[in-house]
């Protein structure tokens, strides 16, 4: 009965109700997007860091992984020290460098990483074979496109270009053994991976036994925090960064987006709330006589309150339904814009859909819908019945 009356009241002014639902839908879409934005980057980045099971990263002291050109000397000794800890199962040293493909007059520049292919956590081979042999490498599609090389081709790779001498420090003929997808690199960046020893040798004495980063996998059940503390005590020339710390630093750097999400989400909720409150208040004002008649007939205050709250809730729920679908579309659009951030790994999503985000947005909208009905329902329930009937009759 209450629901029937609420629906009848909403369908009486269809254009007005449709506009209100549309307004709530846009606010709901924005709210969902902002809830997704506030947690999406963190979740997405965390998932990326943990995707290969490495929970600690070692970088040169005072730096973040690959934030500078700094490297760590004595790489093999560090690996030996770390693997003595029973809580550490895998240590993957990584050296970063710029390589040039030297084929005739063409020069293609790419980012290169030197790894131990058997334990690396930087890429996944999609076609062909891993770079297990010393003079072989895997590369991404961008590299293959830029150089026109195909799996099986042999290319001349060089490092250490000196602009003054116009000469390279080290050159090596290497076989393009497979196509790989690099997990932490940005879209459009040509990249290759080759055995660590090969890349170190190409860099000459400057790169001998050096690494830019170590990735550490911890035994299941062991506490990464205690392993991290042990590493920092044992190898004081490195910064050991746990996934939790890395996420905290990302949070700090991207605080702007999180705060913006909070503000815009709050504004969206307020706009939706005001819209529903205004509409239902005007609707109550227009049928004040009708409500007075209902009260005079013996219909309880609670019944009137329920009917009006049901009206505001119906608008909020219908708007939320449309808005959540609209929000997914706009999130995709906005994510497409932010995905073109330079240097951002392809796998990072700013707007990550999680059921929790949708439930949070829906919960907030339902709560706001109920609150939006409080003022008009209180107004309707506290009408002086006799006076209202007399005034309505005179009018």
């Amino acid at each position: 009965m209450r629901l029937h009356l609420a629906i009848a009241s909403l369908t009486r002014h269809r254009a007005r109700t449709a506009l209100a639902i549309l307004g709530v839908a846009v606010a709901a879409a924005m709210l969902l997007d902002m809830v997704m934005l506030s947690s999406g980057m963190r979740e997405s980045f965390g998932a990326l860091l943990e995707s290969r099971g490495f929970s600690i990263r070692l970088a040169p002291r005072g730096t973040l992984p690959f934030d500078t050109d700094a490297t760590i000397g004595g790489a093999s000794e560090i690996v030996a020290v770390l693997t003595r800890n029973p809580d550490i199962t895998v240590v993957s040293p990584v050296l970063g460098a710029t390589v040039h493909v030297v084929e005739g007059a063409d020069r293609t520049t790419a980012f290169a990483i030197g790894v131990h292919p058997a334990v690396q956590g930087d890429y996944e081979v999609e076609r062909g074979a891993d770079a297990l042999a010393g003079d072989s490498f895997v590369a991404n599609e961008e590299f293959a496109t830029a150089t026109g090389a195909r799996v099986g081709d042999t290319l001349t790779l060089a490092t250490g270009y000196s602009p003054q001498l116009r000469a390279y420090g080290g050159e090596r003929r290497a076989v393009f053994s497979g196509v790989a997808r690099f997990l932490y690199l940005s879209r459009g960046q040509p990249a290759i991976a080759m055995p660590l020893a090969t890349l170190q040798a190409m860099g000459g004495t400057e790169r001998r036994d050096r690494a830019s980063l170590f990735m550490v996998r911890v035994r299941e059940g062991a506490a990464p925090d205690s392993v991290q503390r042990w590493i920092e005590q044992t190898v004081p020339r490195v910064d050991a960064i746990s996934t939790r710390e890395a996420l905290a630093r990302v949070d700090e750097r991207l605080a702007y987006f999180r705060q913006m999400a909070l503000i815009l989400g709050g504004v969206s909720l307020l706009v939706g709330f005001l819209l529903v409150t205004t509409l239902v208040t005007v609707s109550v004002n227009q049928r004040i006589g009708e409500i007075a008649v209902q009260r005079a007939m013996g219909i309880s205050r609670a019944h009137v309150v329920h009917q009006i709250v049901a009206e505001s809730l119906a608008i909020s729920l219908l708007g939320a339904g449309v808005g959540l679908a609209l929000g997914l579309v706009t999130a995709r659009w906005l994510n497409g814009i932010l995905a073109s951030f330079p240097g951002l790994p392809t796998a990072i999503d700013f707007f990550l859909f999680q059921p929790r985000a949708a439930w949070t947005a829906l919960g907030l909208l339902v709560a706001s819908g109920i609150l939006a009905g409080v003022y008009p329902s209180w107004r309707a329930a506290s009408l002086p019945v006799a006076r209202t009937l007399r005034e309505e009759a005179v009018a």
Partner: protein, 265 residues
């Protein structure tokens, strides 16, 4: 800009450096203090005197980097990091913009191992991050405008609809449909104009709050939010146009109805 003192003259063999105000604040350093600078953590380095404290520029590329800046004399830095007689780049000033292009071409014709670029081209290349943020802000702006437009339409429709008995009375008094329509539309436009003025004031206050918060948070003089006459004009124009459109739509429905029907008879 040097905000505190000028670089001190060399005191004996001790060199001077300039540090930024963020480092000065965090490390409680003052002009005249002695510090050790080294190229790697833990290395012996050089003892130097803080000769000047520099204030931060309003550079958007610096805000996300919570880092410190130290300026040394070129030969000092080259010596400290073992860089030899090398530099990363040269900045070249020319008399005018056409001179810049001629100089760039001339340098590149004789360059051996380096390239000359115009500052404008370098700025475009390095401002990609801010162009992405700017596009994102514009997209959020479009969604906000759509939401505001619907809100405004809804409110004005309700506002005009509330006047149905007044409109009926005016029509019964003999006023033409045209006059009533004009009056209602004018009222809607006035409400929209007043609303946009109040909105502009709220927007200016919000903008000031945003600037105050983020300037303190990132410790930068950069202005994050700017309310320009163009933005005010766009908001006011959009609001008035939407107000007139909503007012016209609602008023047309009212004046087409019979006055007695509007009275509920």
């Amino acid at each position: 800009m040097v905000s505190l003192g000028l670089a001190l003259a060399l005191q004996g063999t001790t060199r001077t450096i300039a540090i930024d105000e963020r480092l000065a604040t965090d490390a409680s350093l003052h002009v005249g203090d002695r510090v050790v600078v080294a190229s790697t953590p833990g290395a012996a380095g050089d003892t130097v005197i803080v000769g000047a404290i520099l204030s931060r520029r309003a550079d958007p590329s610096e805000i996300a980097r919570d880092e410190y800046r130290v300026r040394l004399h070129l030969d000092h830095l080259q010596e400290l990091i073992g860089y030899g007689d090398r530099v990363d780049r040269f900045a070249v000033a020319t008399r005018d913009s056409s001179g810049a292009e001629r100089a760039r071409t001339a340098i590149n014709d004789v360059a051996f191992g380096f390239r000359a670029h115009r500052s404008r081209d370098v700025a475009i290349e390095t401002s990609q991050t801010f162009r992405v943020v700017s596009r994102f802000h514009r997209a959020i702006g479009v969604i906000t405008i759509v939401a505001s437009a619907i809100f405004l339409l809804c409110i004005l429709l309700l506002k005009v609809d509330e006047r149905r008995r007044d409109v009926a009375a005016l029509r019964l008094l003999g006023l033409s449909r045209r006059t009533v329509l004009g009056a209602v539309v004018l009222e809607a436009a006035f409400v929209a104009l007043v609303g946009s003025l109040v909105g502009t004031a709220i927007g200016a206050l919000a903008s000031a709050a945003v600037n105050a918060y983020y300037q303190a948070h990132y410790r930068t003089p950069l202005r994050f939010s700017i309310v320009t006459p163009d933005i005010i004009a766009l908001a006011a124009l959009l609001s008035i146009l939407l107000g007139i459109a909503a007012g016209t739509l609602a008023a047309l429905r009212l004046v087409r109805a019979r006055p007695l029907a509007l009275m509920g008879r």
